[in-house]
Amino acid sequence: MDFDPLILSRIQFALNISFHILFPTITIGLCWLLLFFRIRFTQTRDIEWEYAYYFWVKIFALTFALGVVSGITMSFQFGTNWPGFMEKAGNIAGPMLGYEVLTAFFLEASFLSIMLFGKNRVSNKVHLLSTLVVTVGTSMSAFWILSLNSWMQTPDGYTLIDGVIHIENWMEIIFNPSFPYRFAHMLTASLLTASFLVAGVSAWRARKKVDGPATWKVIRTGVFLAAILAPVQILIGDFHGLNSLEHQPAKVAAIEGVWHTQRGAPLTLFGIPDEQQQTTHYAIKIPKLASLILTHELEGEIQGLSDFEGEHPPVTPVFWAFRIMVVVGLLMLLVAWFCSYKIFKYKTLKDFSLRILSWMTFSGWVAVLAGWYVTEIGRQPWVVTGILRTSDVVADHSGGTVLTTLVAYSILYTGLLVSYVLTLRYMSTKKARSLMAMQERQKIDQFNGAG
């Protein structure tokens, strides 16, 4: 049987990057939360904040390690599977990836050790500063990677000489048209993912009765942050969509399932896209809404897929991934607001709310992956929009070679993902230190009372 190395290389890349992005998504957001815990501790000297910090910094370290090792794999993948990309776009991709390592990766990896092991070796000030450095580092990482990704989506500031991309203007390259939107969208997504993770795990701990006062501080932090960010994210997403419509209309057409250019396009809520017949079966539509959302006019024109013959992405995955992202996003908004309301009203959460929160622990992962599938599959058949096709940059390994590594990576990543979730679960079942400290105090009080 013959395997197509292009498809296999794409699956392998998708697998690697899907696995990789799970972990930075958590660490970018979680680090800001850790910084918040540390600042609160420094301000109030309330030991509970420090308990919260040390519980989550362990999970941060585990997550960070998974991000590092899968990130190393990413940096090799370009060369092993996509040498054409480096040959044609290396002038731009090389320095940007290089800057990520130089300005961010090293900072994170070095100062993390102080966050983890430095308590008795450095002052609280240096400790706080190290947390800040790692936080800025992780966000800087995101800056460079998203800048490069955005440039591949909406290239700018370059010239083509003999098919090779050359630099025209670095500012236009780094701050390319879609970058501000994508960067804001991803940072907010990370913060939301981390909010739901900390709230979800803490809610689970509360239900298992291993929680202490620190756990409740974390629940409140997570829920309130999510309640603020969820609507902000929807707004950013809307702006991002408008930007895509301007620069990548084929992607938006696939998202909306618009087959032919039309004015006053309806919004397809659900349906089954059929690329052969160029129609969406069983579509549930709201008249004019797509035009209203995308052009902010009832009769606005939206270009259809038939305008991009041979140059539009596969419709089904983009169409579905987008809907999954939106549904999960709305669910997050609903849960965050509901729980915030409950906390405001009753100062605590009942079992029902805690249960919902713990179900939502990994909701951020689902939304982020779905979102990335929209934007990455949505860029196809291009690797750099309008300049470089994915099929032109792949390495000519045999199908068997790529299949071997693909199988090995699949096994490895499945194992690691299962281990990660199980370990997180195991770490969460341990009694909170704040709980132990509280029980200790009660014992002493009882003893004093009795005596």
Binding site: L62, S75, T103
Partner: protein, 330 residues
């Protein structure tokens, strides 16, 4: 002649040198684990706890510079080394996460993760040796190249194990310190033999390299390299075999000697390859990115690499001294 590619190839060499020294010792620790008792395993892993993340980042910098300054070579080298690279990546992944998982998971899984840490370390080291071997052979697919790659893939783990031993001599005391010295005495002879054989085999296997080394007057100018390596090796051997010096806690000399060996080998390797980036196939100027790209990358590199160096030293100072059991809270 444009000097920027020379600058970047030097930075790349520096990063990979740092990698062999720094990640070398934590890979070495991984490979030494089966020889230790359970409590010693914990201590050994604790000695590398604050450092391994950053150590591993040096290979990302090395590959990052290759990516940044020599995009053509990045593709050519890594496509040719597809399988060993994949094996190394999977091994590095396993080992990196095993490190975290073994202390965080249920106690009954701890031994499994420790074992995976060992497997990952040895596999990654061998894969790196394999890559180095076929790189020195100019990425050719000949039987000679194969034999040479196998030889290096056995030699490099040996070197890393020595690094691990030396690191333990720096960071531990008591029984483990003595044990490490014993492991060192076992390992240093095959290491010396390996270094010697490879020094002889390299010019035999590659005529390009032979021509560079055995022509006068270059040969005389190059003499300090093998001589320094030999002296450093003998110093390490002497320290390991002298109970008095070891007892006076001068074990760190072994680490210094190994660093000297690594620096000299890197210089020798650099001389063998320069000005090519892939021997006989691609020079650094042919492989270089456009001048505008290099200029942009140059600014960042000149500022960032010294900073990285400085804060690496800072972190090593914070966590300096013999190991006491490190835990997260204390």
């Amino acid at each position: 002649m444009d000097w920027l590619p020379i600058f970047f190839v030097s930075v790349m060499g520096f990063a990979l040198l740092m990698y062999t020294i720094l990640d070398g010792y934590d890979l070495g620790i991984g490979m030494l684990l089966p020889l230790a008792t359970d409590s010693e395993k914990d201590v050994m892993i604790a000695t590398i706890g604050p450092f391994w993340d950053a150590n591993e980042t040096w290979i990302v910098l090395g590959i990052g510079v290759l990516l940044m300054a020599f995009p053509m070579a990045h593709g050519l080298v890594l496509t040719s080394l597809y399988m060993p690279v994949a094996v190394m990546l999977i091994a590095l992944t396993l080992r990196g996460v095993a490190f975290e998982f073994r202390v965080k998971t249920k106690t009954e899984f701890k031994a499994t993760w420790t074992w995976l840490f060992f497997i990952g370390s040895i596999t990654a080291s061998m894969a790196q040796g394999w890559m180095l071997g076929s790189y020195v052979m100019g990425l050719r697919d000949t039987p000679l190249s194969l034999v040479f790659s196998i030889a290096i893939s056995l030699m490099l783990p040996c070197l890393y194990i020595m690094h691990g031993v030396a690191w333990l001599l720096v960071k531990t005391d008591g029984d483990l310190y003595c044990k490490a010295a014993k492991w060192g005495r076992l390992c240093i002879v095959p290491l010396g033999l390996g270094l010697f054989l490879i020094s002889i085999a390299t010019p035999i296997a590659s005529t390009e390299i032979a021509n560079k080394w055995f022509s006068l007057p270059e040969a005389i100018g190059l003499l300090p390299i093998p001589i320094t390596v030999a002296i450093a090796y003998l110093v390490a051997l002497w320290v390991l075999r002298s109970p008095k010096i070891l007892a006076a806690d001068y074990g760190w000399i072994v680490f210094v000697a190994l660093i000297v060996i690594c620096v000299m080998c890197t210089l020798g390797l650099g001389y063998s390859i320069f000005p090519d980036v892939v021997i006989g196939k691609l020079t650094i100027w042919e492989a270089a990115a456009s001048r505008d790209s290099l200029k942009f990358a140059f600014v960042g590199t000149v500022i960032a690499v010294p900073c990285i160096f400085i804060y690496t030293v800072f972190i090593y100072r914070v966590f300096a001294g013999k190991i006491k059991i490190l835990s997260y809270e204390s």
